[in-house]
Subunit: 436 residues, 2 copies
């Protein structure tokens, strides 16, 4: 492949998938070779491959390509990927590239690049297919045929009025199966699911998944059609959002790249904040233990059971919080459900508490005798219930206070459960064993 | 809507989305009303709505519908949804329903229902579009037009040989844009991405997302085309798998339904197992503390810092493990990357350890003087590094031993970090402070 014979590379590349070629380019530490591959491909092929390449490698390759080649490549990219790529470049490069583009692409780029990252506007493509009312089905198919090369999808065509407002949509499936003379007006589906340019991208993905859409039309403030988001972009967003939620669940902040490509510094930055916050939060647990130093020195055997009780509270709380945060993220549960869920959680938590108290009572009896075994069992029921209820309620509370419920991460819940666990344990011990 | 006027309900229903109607049926505690709605709709409409209804409500409604209506509904459902629904019924109902179906649907049902849950076979639909080599593009379009009503999608048509082996695929987009007389042979894409009936569903979703496919062809052991999985099913699977991974990360086992619909018993069962395992695992931490009782009683101030040190080890470990498990689930990192990642993790963990040691040293100095502050700072660096490395390596190790890497849940890592943290802390303390 490195010989540089264009025809040979093009033929070889045709048997590979664009996603696989992109991986080859990314995995190759020597970007020169990637550039050689991209330059050997036809412009359409290389634009497609380039779209699958991650942002880091895209930037590196852009620096190695002559501006004229880069402009050609960028022109052939779908408008949404083009805008994302453009936003990666520094101002100088943006300016040079901008000068070498045709005015149509410039206009489009300026518009798409202006939307905030993470919104439907930044995700959408402006290459949607449009047909007019009054056309026959066969005329509409003809129109789609002729405009197909520039469109992201022709499987959904949109009908707009003279103010560019969205009237409805017709699927190519319906156009094809209708009699050729049928007016498209008879085939239009109205009451479409739509989003606005400001809709957050996770909501866009949720709509596409919920309604099994091929593409979601995006409207501006004046209800005019300005773009579409297709299902394949929605799948990428859904994966990205799930990763972000999973990371948040363990107090890892936002990473711009995958773990493999992340720099040590970006990993450090994404992790350090919450670790330090939680160090200070844990001082309360230490203070709790210090407060009960007297009962501890008198019954030093109590210490043996502390980790197990405190951890159980945290683990049960982590389970509840995780169930709740994920349920809220997928739309399975809403804030309105909290009453019903509280009842269920109380029931489940008491059953769990009793089971675990039974398990721990045996150990307590063998290790420290009946008095401490009883203290440990009572504490276990209490801490599992308290931990579970905190885990369940905190996400709701955060949501009410306009925070992301996913902030109720497992380490945060564990820390809160630690403090509560220590206080409950030694209070129960003081009450039941007393100080001599 | 409850008046029962069929025409009125049909008209009203046409303005709603099937997914929304399904939600109406589900939210309505009185299933009679849902049944009335479904019966008032046309068979196609009600089959579509029924497909969006969750398994619990589906079963309840099936019991309220006369067998003949149910058979009609089931016949109109897409083959994959039909098979899933069929698997929900008890044997008696399955038998009765089976008798009332036409032989084509029976055959199809028998085949699809035989695949194991969670595989491509169980997910696929047998309603894919087929065209033959030798046809012209316009003849192929005509064929697709005529067979469209029975097909899951006509946007991808598959070409098979006389042994039913997959030769290639043609997109409707390419058929439409080609000159009408073009032979389909010139338009066929070969080297397709495919999966087998046994491929796990998460792998199917990953392929569809990675290659931006509309549909993935599924082959049997003899490489014959037996079905397709479409992108909308892949989106549902991806969400389901992300939920399962998130739950596993907090030791919550598999739930058949969402949190809102889960019974208290199913929640109890999904949570109790790991909670009890971890109770016993935490006995080791208790034993560790008991072992060091002497140094603790001599320097009781050490107890104050224990929660904070032990929790930091767990939190740092949870971060590493979560990053690693998710990276492996999305395919971002593979087992082969472990060497490179180990180096990066060591670097990041030492930077984190030093930062946190600095934070905690101040507190240590103020609370307990220079000696203990020094012990605490040294311990912090050590435990953050040990916790992070355990968190990073455990998922790899589990994968090597053929376990799911997601078993390296935050609570499990926290427990391991607790034991290590206690041992390291009091060993360092013994070494630096000594016993008098």
């Amino acid at each position: 492949i490195a010989t540089g014979d264009e025809a040979q590379i093009q033929a070889a590349a045709a048997t590979f998938n664009a996603a696989d070629l992109a991986e080859f380019v990314e995995e190759n530490p020597d970007n020169e070779e990637g550039v050689r591959l991209l330059r050997a491909l036809t412009t359409e092929q290389s634009a497609k491959v380039f779209g699958y390449i991650g942002p880091n490698t895209q930037t590196l390759i852009a620096e190695l390509l002559p501006t004229r080649d880069l402009a050609e490549l960028v022109t052939a990219m779908p408008s949404d990927e083009r805008a994302d790529f453009f936003n990666l470049l520094d101002e100088n490069r943006q300016h040079t590239l901008f000068q070498s583009l045709a005015s149509k692409e410039r206009e489009d780029l300026r518009r798409l690049a202006s939307f905030e990252e993470g919104t439907a506007g930044a995700l959408m493509s402006s290459e949607y297919a449009v047909i007019s009312t009054g056309m026959s089905a066969s005329a509409a198919i003809n129109l789609l045929r002729n405009t197909a090369p520039d469109k992201e999808t022709i499987y959904q065509a949109y009908v707009i009025d003279n103010q560019h407002k969205l009237v409805g949509a017709v699927s190519l499936r319906n156009l094809i199966t209708a009699m050729p003379g049928t007016p498209v007006d008879d085939l239009i589906a109205t009451g479409l699911v739509t989003a606005s340019t400001e809709t957050p991208q996770e909501e866009v993905a949720r709509l596409i998944s919920r309604y099994d859409l091929l593409a979601l039309p995006i409207l501006d403030q004046d209800e005019r059609l300005v773009g579409i988001v297709t299902y394949d972009d929605a799948m990428d967003v859904a994966e990205e959002e799930a990763t972000e939620d999973i990371h948040k669940g363990a107090t890892v902040g936002k990473l711009e790249t995958g773990l493999r490509d992340a720099t040590p510094f970006s990993l450090y930055r994404s992790r350090v904040q919450w670790l330090v916050i939680l160090v200070f939060a844990n001082i309360f647990t230490g203070a709790g233990i210090a407060y009960f130093e007297d009962i501890i020195s008198e019954h030093i055997a109590l210490l043996f059971f502390m980790p197990l009780l405190v951890a159980s509270a945290g683990n049960a709380g982590a389970q509840s919080a995780t169930l709740m945060v994920r349920g809220m993220a997928t739309g399975d549960v809403t804030v309105a459900d909290w009453g019903k869920l509280l009842g269920k959680e109380t029931l489940v938590a008491s059953a769990l508490g009793v089971t675990m108290a039974a398990a721990v009572m045996v150990v307590g009896f063998m290790r420290a005798g009946p008095d401490i075994a009883f203290v440990v069992a009572v504490t276990m029921i209490a801490v599992v219930m308290v931990g579970s209820l905190i885990g369940m309620l905190l996400p709701f509370l955060l949501d009410k206070l306009k925070f992301d419920p996913a902030t109720a991460s497992t380490p945060l819940i564990t820390t809160i459960a630690d403090v509560s666990g220590v206080l409950i344990y030694f209070s129960v011990a003081t009450a039941l064993l007393g100080l001599s």
